[in-house]
């Protein structure tokens, strides 16, 4: 601190940030997000307990009624719970973003010569760690209960990546609410209203043919249903079908709409 500072005239100053710098800044912000997760492990309650408790509960409650016995329900329910848990986790992105933006440290980020987008991109990036934890735990829980996915480990891995990618895409929707909402609890509120119909009005827990016709119509166009089916096909039979394509298209559409919206709203606030 005692050596003289570089005079303004001898500094190289540029008014824009390069793409490379944006990427580096985003990764630093993601590193910060991961450090924060490590420092506050209670944040991981949702991604650790939900897979364990839901898997146990749903399997033993519905297993007999829906598939005759627990063993034959596992290939149905594990992909369902996986998708439901990971997508629910993505709500946290929005809530935490709001909390973070209200904190003093955000002022410092705004006063640093970094890419404006880095705090947002970093937050979304760091949250993929949470999705990964939830995914691994759900599959592990299923394995302990006797689930033996027929598709083999490599297809299970592809299914896991698919779910994480889709959750990341959907997290843009919640990030948008996080940026525009006034309080963290309102983000939680709005997000749940969207999330509940999406995850429950799907084929995640029960076969579609048991539902009334008007509901089947919604369940069949619900992108979450396609994602669940894609995961089931991959994990249970190792097949790749239309549903995977539809899921990825749905994810791309979510990103295409909400990423620009979020970034714009965020830049205006930041």
């Amino acid at each position: 601190m005692n050596q003289p500072i570089t005079p303004v005239s001898q500094r190289q100053l540029r008014n824009h940030t390069s793409f490379g710098q944006s990427v580096r800044n985003s990764f630093t912000m993601a590193y910060r997000g991961i450090l924060k997760i490590r420092r506050t492990p209670e944040q991981l309650f949702d991604v650790t307990f939900q897979p364990i408790i839901f898997t146990l509960m749903f399997t033993y409650i519905f297993g007999g009624a829906i598939s005759g016995n627990v063993q034959s329900y596992l290939p149905v329910i594990i992909p369902g719970i996986l998708v439901q848990t990971v997508i629910t986790t993505s709500v946290v992105t929005g809530v935490q973003l709001r909390e973070d933006m209200d904190k003093g440290v955000f002022d410092r980020f705004k006063s640093l010569p970094i890419a404006r987008i880095a705090p947002l991109a970093g937050a979304l990036l760091a949250d993929t760690v949470r999705y990964t934890i939830a995914t691994v735990l759900t599959f592990t829980m299923g394995y302990i209960m006797g689930y033996r996915p027929g598709g083999g480990l490599s297809h299970v891995a592809i299914a896991a990546v698919l779910v994480i990618v889709c959750a990341w895409a959907i997290s843009w929707i919640f990030a948008f609410f996080g940026v525009i909402a006034r309080t963290a609890s309102s983000v939680q509120g709005i997000s749940m209203i969207i999330l509940f119909p999406l995850t429950f009005l799907s084929n995640a827990f029960v076969p579609v043919k048991t539902m009334p016709h008007w509901l089947q119509w919604f369940v069949n166009i619900n992108p979450i249903s396609h994602l669940v089916t894609a995961v089931r096909n991959l994990a249970n039979t190792g097949t790749i079908g239309n549903d995977l394509a539809i899921s990825l298209i749905g994810a791309a559409v979510a990103v295409a709409i909400f990423a620009p919206l979020t970034v714009r709203a965020y830049m205006r606030r930041a």
Partner: protein, 340 residues
């Protein structure tokens, strides 16, 4: 201005670290900052004084590119805060009024993240963090999460974080609020050292002695406008001259003493006979010697003599008291006075 000739700007450092003209910020119809002009010479400490809600923080936030002004312009070393914010951010360090560090992380982690964001490599960032923690005597607490930090430690870390890039201009919003006297003195020492390295410091404060001790120039802000600007001495002089207070030993000599005072100093004086005290405005300190000789010759014995300078408190109260807004022109100031 300034930017029209960038070549020239590169060859000599702009003499003005901050030049703000007519800054305005409105919050839902309420003009929090209402036409603030500021000029801060590079290499100096500039104090922004004002009561609660005067608009100090809002002004600093506009200068630091955290808030967009609704009207007016501001340049930092000649670079416009609205048009070239990313350049401005490379030239400033900001320590806000409220802690701008990550509560859940440790001091080291905070500094490493900020260093990495500023482009330092992993090893450089580590070294920088260790160096700053040492510098601000935080090494022992470096690994603890900030939640367990005292207010003073947090403040120091906050300042340390603003110094990573060794910026030529540092904004400090109430840097010593809530610090104990010893920690405050350390903070002052740090600020003085920063200026020695060539930095410019703009600080806001509500403590008049702080501005008195540190600042080369002061702006007093009130109701979103600058009501007075100048050096500490100019501001004090604007409020009133020093006054001379004499107490005589024998009350019956007070009338003679008064005549003596008025003859030598050529001013009106105020006598309070019960206390045996004479108060007179004093413009020229040299004349006091003459007065003392005259009093000795007249055989008047003094029990007490003192000279009172106006304090910055008086300046502050005079300028930000309500009488100012009612009759600002009644102040006979030898500094620029603009209406708030």
């Amino acid at each position: 201005m300034g930017r029209e000739n960038p070549i020239q700007l590169k060859s000599v450092d702009a003499p003005w670290a901050v030049e703000a003209r007519g800054l305005v910020k409105t919050f839902g119809g309420f003009r929090a900052v209402d036409g603030v002009d500021l000029k801060v010479r590079a290499g100096t400490i500039y104090g922004v004084l004002g009561p609660n809600g005067a608009g100090k923080t809002t002004t600093i936030r506009m200068l630091a590119t955290l808030l967009r002004p609704d009207a007016g312009t501001a340049t930092i070393f000649g670079y416009d805060v609205v048009k070239e914010p990313q350049i401005v951010r490379q030239l400033i360090g900001v320590t806000g009024q409220y802690a701008s560090v990550d509560e859940t992380l440790s001091a080291t982690e905070n500094l490493i993240i900020f260093s990495r964001l500023l482009g330092l490599s992993h090893t450089e960032a580590r070294r920088k963090a260790a160096e700053l923690l040492e510098e601000f005597s935080l090494t022992e607490a470096a690994k603890r999460p900030l939640k367990k930090f005292s207010g003073g430690m947090r403040r120091r870390l906050d300042l340390a974080a603003s110094l990573i890039a060794q910026p030529p201009l540092i904004f400090l919003d109430e840097p010593t609020t809530g610090l104990d006297p010893r920690t405050r003195a350390q903070m002052w020492e740090t600020i003085r050292r920063l200026v020695k390295t060539g930095s410019t410091v703009v600080l806001t404060t509500q403590y008049l002695d702080e501005a008195d001790q540190l600042a080369d120039r002061i702006a007093v802000i009130h109701h979103g406008g600058v009501v007075a600007e100048g050096t500490v001495d100019e501001l004090k002089a604007s409020v009133g001259r020093s006054s001379l207070q004499l107490r005589v030993e024998e009350p019956q000599t007070i009338e003679r003493a008064r005549r003596c005072v008025e003859q030598v100093l050529r001013v009106q004086s105020i006598v309070s006979p019960e206390a045996g005290k004479i108060t007179a405005p004093m413009a020229d300190a040299d004349k006091v010697t003459d007065l003392l000789i005259a009093l000795r010759e007249a055989g008047i014995r003094l029990s007490e003599m003192s000279v009172q300078k106006p304090t910055l408190d008086e300046v502050f109260l005079t300028l930000t008291g309500d009488n100012v807004t009612e009759s600002p022109s009644s102040d006979e100031m030898d500094v620029e006075v603009s209406q708030g």
